[in-house]
């Protein structure tokens, strides 16, 4: 087991290196001169050249990559020129907020999606299945930012149940209940699409498993139907569902960008969009690498969970 985890972690190293190369190359393709972007179009040529040398931009591409990678490995992501602070500090500040939002949404979509898929499969072609299928289609078709806006209109403006934006109240907030009140709407809005996708795939995986011989064996043993479905069948179906959870985690993380815009959530997604509009290259570069690395790490966890569930892949 320990060997498997180690192997899985080692196999992530080339992926992470590849990610840094891709990000670095994309960023290097940005047309125009970063120094000009920083100093503005009125800067003198001498100043531009001095800044270029200071930033190491006069060196060949490969050398710049390795310098950046070396610094990265030492935890130095460079400085954001627009915010004038270290990139890593900014990312870490923002990432906590994104993690709370995306993490909650992920837990929501995993539980709701799997439960809906199981019920749907167990009652195939029944009214519950039809209702769930319809809601799922609606869920995967609605743009999350539109859903978020409509939720604000209904629950914040009309009903005044929940705050419309931000992470904490400005006056007297800051405790956990306050966070939960702020988190409810964005987390749900973010979870909807992934819930739909997971529900669909869970339904398919369950239908596949329910036809297997070992389900008939469980029934022949006299195992109650509820346990056949939620125990025997779901356990086997999870082997197919867990990889999908890993992929959906990426979609939740992606969707967080929109939701952070709509709900003014101080997360890393909004930071990235701002950085792109301001052409703050080091911040974009560092942010993308950081999130991609987290995503790769999460997928290692998914694989480990998979191997815990399925003894056949441990060897």
């Amino acid at each position: 087991m320990g060997g498997y985890i180690l192997k899985r972690i080692l196999s992530a190293v080339p992926v992470l290196l590849g990610i840094t190369v891709i990000v670095f190359l994309i960023m290097a393709m940005i047309p125009g001169d970063p120094a000009t972007a920083i100093l503005g179009s009125y800067a003198t040529p001498e100043n531009v050249e001095r800044l270029n040398r200071h930033l190491g931009l006069d060196q060949p591409l490969w050398q710049r990559y390795f310098t950046w990678l070396g610094n990265l490995l030492q935890g130095d992501f460079g400085r954001s020129f627009a915010l004038n602070r270290p990139v890593l500090d900014e990312i870490l500040d923002r990432f906590a907020a994104t993690l709370i939002l995306a993490g909650t949404a992920f837990v929501l979509c995993a539980f709701l999606g799997i439960a809906a898929g199981v019920v749907s499969a167990a009652r195939q072609y029944g009214p519950a299945d039809k209702a769930i299928t319809f809601v799922v289609i609606l869920g995967i078709s609605v743009p999350s930012f539109f859903l978020g806006m409509m939720m604000i209109l209904l629950f914040a403006v009309k009903l005044r149940w929940l705050p419309a934006s931000g992470m904490y109240s400005i006056w007297g907030g800051g405790d956990l209940p306050d966070l939960i009140r702020h988190l409810t709407m964005p987390a749900f809005a973010l979870a909807v699409v992934a819930t739909g996708v997971i529900a669909r795939l869970s339904r398919g995986a369950m239908l596949e498993v329910l036809r297997q011989d070992f389900i008939r064996t469980a029934r022949a043993k006299g195992v109650p139907e509820r346990r056949v479905i939620w125990g025997h069948a779901l356990r086997a179906a999870m082997v197919g569902i867990i990889p999908v959870l890993g992929i959906q985690a990426g979609f939740v993380l992606s969707g967080a960008v929109y939701i952070e815009m709509v709900f003014q959530w101080p997360g890393v997604g909004r930071m990235l969009v701002d950085a792109i509009l301001k052409r703050d290259i080091l911040l974009v570069q560092g942010g993308v690498v950081f999130i991609a690395a987290c995503y790769v790490g999460f997928n290692i966890l998914v694989d480990v969970a998979q191997s815990l569930l399925d003894p056949r892949i441990r060897t």
Binding site: V23, Y125, S141, V142
Partner: protein
Amino acid sequence: MSLFLRLVFRNRLAGFGAVVLGLIMLLALLTPLLPLHPPNETNTANRFLRPLSEGHWLGTDHLGRDLLSRLMWGTRLSLAVGFAAALVAGLLGAAIGVIAGYAGGRTDNVTMRGIDMLMAFPYILLALAIVAVLGPGLFNALIAVAVVNIPFFARNIRGVTVGIAHREFIDAARLAGMGNARILLTEVVPNIVPVVVIAMSTTIGWMILETAGLSFLGLGSQPPQADLGSMLGEARAAMITAPHTSIVPGAMILLIVMSVNLLGDGIRDALDPRLRSGALSRPMAATRVERTVVPPAQGDGLLRIDALETQFHVGPRIYHAVNDVSLALDPGECLGLIGESGSGKSVTALSVMGLVASPPGVITGGAVRLRGEDLIGAPYEVLRSLRGRKVAYIFQDPLSTLHPLYRIGDQLIEAIRVHEPVSHAEARRRAIELLEDVRIPNPAERARAFPHELSGGMRQRVGIAMALANDPDIIIADEPTTALDVTVQAQILALLDDLRRSRGLAILFITHDFGVVAQLCARVAVMYGGRIVETGPMAEVLDAPAHPYTRRLIACVPELGAGRRALAAIPGLPPAVDDLPPGCAFAPRCDKARDACREGEIPLSGTARQVRCLFPEVAP
């Protein structure tokens, strides 16, 4: 093609999606011809007019521009970008996939590692990075969305191509001296076009959502030009005071994407052969029963099956899997039920406890009486409490019939605890005892093993142990030795015989092999085409088979040490039970068949020895 369309439209939701999408596309095409206000004509005096205002059906936005006009033009733009992105991603992805899959080896490996790396990004990060390079703009957003989706297509198409590249017709083309480029274009590409089209139709919805998203963030279309996403983005500032400016474009995106998704699902389902055959339906907890008459009990005994009829209803077809089958089993007795695959022997056995997969299985008649109590149509809870406790099953292939993810000990413990409220520790002790009873060495240690860690013979012993867990009265063994080696087979048979003698078990032993049950069973019933054709004491049937089918079946068993002789295979195939000929089902394969055999019902005649034949080999 017309079949395909019929299949798509049979799904009402898909039909609805097709109609809505068609209508929206038609309107989008006609937009320049419609009498609309110019979409970018501002009129700040008329800001935020409500819907149904004069001259502005849907009202106006924050600059007093006509919302209806902007909606139509925006829809046009969003649709065009979504389709274009799908097309670009589909074509480039397919090209990469085809080349990697066809070339194989190094090229394939390197390409696919690169694709994997791209897939390691949450998609929006990549899209954002690309927009960062190219700068905001609708065309750049299109490129970003297309590029982000290339890996998805490349992967799918590569998989399909690998499958095709190893088919015979490709080898044939190569032997005919065709070059790689020509093979790719004339042999491979035509085969993957449908796959690409399906993949595109199911992802267009996503593409539209993603470009709308980038525009919403301000990274897509730039003012004054607007697609649906940027309309929504601009309206957000006035969301609370003028919600209609947000709702109009948002609802349009929802409508478009939903109709695309519904249609895409319909297309995919129509092309999935498994859905068409109904093979993807899940079996219910107990077989469906549609019985009109309950036949009277023919006698008593531990288990009596009277005039059982089980059918499979697949679409308009009805397969008569079990047709008027009656059997009886006394305590401590072993009854062999023999027949070829498809003869209905397994379905008969599964019908006893309502375990026939349903849909498509339906029990349409007959009775199954356990100590006089009829089980057909019994409430689920009654059936469940009898399953495993009074009547237990042993199935054919223990690798697929044991749960692959539970330790065998836990599977045994569960079998005990679902019927008896004993503690976990007590159940474990008994589980280990059971493993010992079926002669598994180191039972305590083996209880911790997963099914895949045991040999076939060991697994079957676990299956037997599980059947014994609640000391049942009856064991129904459905080809329990078919998947095993001959020596292991002999051990398992000896084990079952021991258990029958020591516990007084009644065994219904199902097999296709006379050799297997000859020693084990005292009586035998032979099935063909869903009916019993002969039944009687084992020794008598073996000595002097009455039905020609039984005789031929016995002749198929090779005898050790009996010298060389021609093994007489039975020509032809067992009948398809959805279209049984009148008269004897075996007549088409029988060398003694006469015209009378092909007319009318032939009864099962005799008392202790029964045979369903007009011209039996011996008088019953």
